[in-house]
């Protein structure tokens, strides 16, 4: 796998985002986002639904062109890079989507093998062995020949993870790993993410709002709120934050309650937002 021209040593940044602005039509989704993600660490991007986490992730994956700003991933600014350069970066990253995004017409094994078949000249035997190694890492060896429709939610996430790590990526993106899973399966997946970081020395970016998972796996946390990075730091630093919004998230408080009910009712009747 080619190196896009960055240091892989701990201490350097795998991703540096500067002044990132993203608009969807007239709506501003992300404003002036600055974020550094250190190499070899697990960065959790947390925030409430609609805060802009997924848009930030899509920008980092090159799936959404930002309105302005830079996203430097492994030495390439993918906000301005040509498609060929973006693809060079993409060969060094793995992505596990929230719903798995497994190709429904292919078996689990075929899903996992796709990147190897497209980007390498490995022989069939080697591809099969590599597939089994990755499936074994995620405890999915028995599901090798199953179709995605035959998998449970947890199995789908594991299969998606096996597909994401088949090329031994430097960066692994994981969108909502615990969403829709029972606590036990979610805990297993959290442990798997930590194991991957330790054994494969990957930089892992997890987008989630599950507090239990966040404090179990995170080396660093970035809190996103209303399209801005509210705070970044270690789990201890975030816990110690005095910001009322962060404390609200950590204590699972509902969003700001309506104080003036009469005024709110008048707004609803008047059809105002």
């Amino acid at each position: 796998m080619s190196d896009a021209g960055t240091s892989n040593t701990p201490g350097s940044n795998a991703i540096s985002i500067r002044d990132l602005v993203v608009d969807y039509g007239p709506r501003r989704i992300l404003s002036d986002v600055d974020l550094d993600i250190p190499m070899g660490q697990i960065m959790v991007i947390m925030g409430q639904s609609g805060a802009g986490k997924t848009t930030l992730l899509r920008c980092m994956l090159g799936l959404k062109k930002p309105t302005s700003g830079s996203i430097n991933i492994l030495g390439t600014d993918i906000a301005t890079a040509k498609q060929r350069d973006i693809n060079k970066v993409r060969k060094q990253i793995g992505v596990a989507f929230q719903g798995g995004a497994l190709f429904s017409s292919m078996s689990v094994a075929e899903n996992i093998q796709l990147a190897l078949r497209e980007h390498t000249n490995l022989d069939e035997k080697t591809i099969e062995i590599m597939t089994r190694i990755k499936l074994d890492m995620v405890n999915m060896l028995a599901a090798e020949n199953l179709m995605p429709a035959e998998l449970s939610g947890g199995m789908t996430k594991r299969a998606a993870l096996a597909r994401a790590i088949i090329m031994d990526p430097k960066l692994l993106f994981f969108d909502e790993p615990s969403a829709g899973l029972d606590p036990s399966t979610a805990a297993d997946l959290d442990q798997l993410i930590i194991t991957l970081k330790n054994t494969m020395r990957m930089t892992i970016i997890v987008v989630t709002h599950e507090l239990d998972s966040i404090f179990k796996i995170a080396d660093h946390i970035a809190v996103v709120s209303a399209g801005r990075i509210l705070a970044t730091g270690t789990p201890q630093e975030i816990t110690a934050s005095t910001d009322p919004e962060i404390q609200g998230m950590l204590k699972r408080k509902p969003r700001e309650t309506i104080i003036d009910t009469d005024a709110h009712l008048a707004r609803l009747v008047g059809g105002q937002a």
Partner: protein
């Protein structure tokens, strides 16, 4: 009144955007297909889906339409005492017009709708995004094989349709109404010229490309339209749109090609 004009303008702009996207898609896919690696298996797989699995439908509809044509032509020609022209009438109608058009419409209904639904579902379930993130071109991986398969399958299916439709006409004329076999066959052979066969072939090639391209485009770009935010209902709506637009395009381009060639 102003709202109606605004709405009309918005619809025209949206249609132009969709047409532009479809043309752009064709150019991107053609460019990507020229880049290595070249793979035959996905094309064969799509030819099986678009071509082989449509075969029975084509055979049944071809025989039926041939028989209906035979029946109608016989009734008309009998009035003028010219039933010997039945073979040439059926052959020219099938080879020049009905073969390519009906085959394309059948392919739209059977395979085109599936193509749009498949790509639309892949789009809304992030499977297309997953391909992009794996640095695999979705244009080449998903659309390229479908486009080539459509381009090759529709002419082949048209040939099958033509053959069985001529047989249907033969059955009605010769077996049912007792026209001489030699008269039917000679009329057919004398009337059909190479230019008629060429016209049918050109039409089927163009229809194959248009139908596959429109159906692929509607599914692949579903996220850029209103249907993209409507989940399963959006897929259904995109599929219906693709079938309607493909059918109209086939009929209109049939007229255009007929007028130009």
């Amino acid at each position: 009144m102003l709202n109606a004009i605004e709405s009309l303008g918005a619809n025209i702009i949206a249609s132009l955007e969709r047409t532009g996207r479809t043309c752009n898609l064709l150019l991107i896919v053609l460019w990507e297909l020229l880049q290595p690696p070249y793979r035959l298996y996905p094309i064969i797989k799509q030819m099986y889906f678009i071509g082989a699995r449509s075969l029975m439908l084509i055979v049944v509809s071809g025989v039926t339409i041939g028989m209906v044509l035979g029946l109608q032509f016989y009734n008309i020609l009998e009035r003028f005492g010219s039933v010997d022209l039945l073979g040439s009438g059926v052959a020219l109608s099938v080879i020049r017009e009905l073969g390519p058009v009906m085959t394309a419409l059948m392919v739209v209904g059977r395979a085109g709708s599936s193509i749009t639904a498949e790509l639309g579902i892949m789009r809304i379930t992030e499977q297309v995004d997953a391909l992009e993130c794996m640095a695999v071109s979705p244009h080449k991986f998903l659309i390229g094989p479908k486009l080539i398969a459509g381009l090759l399958s529709v002419p082949l299916l048209t040939a099958v349709f033509d053959f069985v439709a001529l047989f249907g006409g033969y059955f009605v004329g010769v077996v049912m109404f007792g026209i001489g076999e030699g008269s039917y066959m000679n009329g057919m052979i004398d009337a059909v010229e190479w230019s008629d066969v060429r016209l049918g072939l050109v039409k089927s090639l163009i229809f194959g490309l248009l139908v596959t391209l429109i159906c692929c485009s509607r599914g692949f770009y579903m996220h850029l339209t209103k249907a993209g935010s409507q989940g399963a209902e959006g897929v259904s709506s995109a599929t219906t749109d693709a079938v309607v637009l493909s059918s109209i395009t086939v009929l209109f381009s049939d007229f255009l090609i007929g007028a130009l060639i």
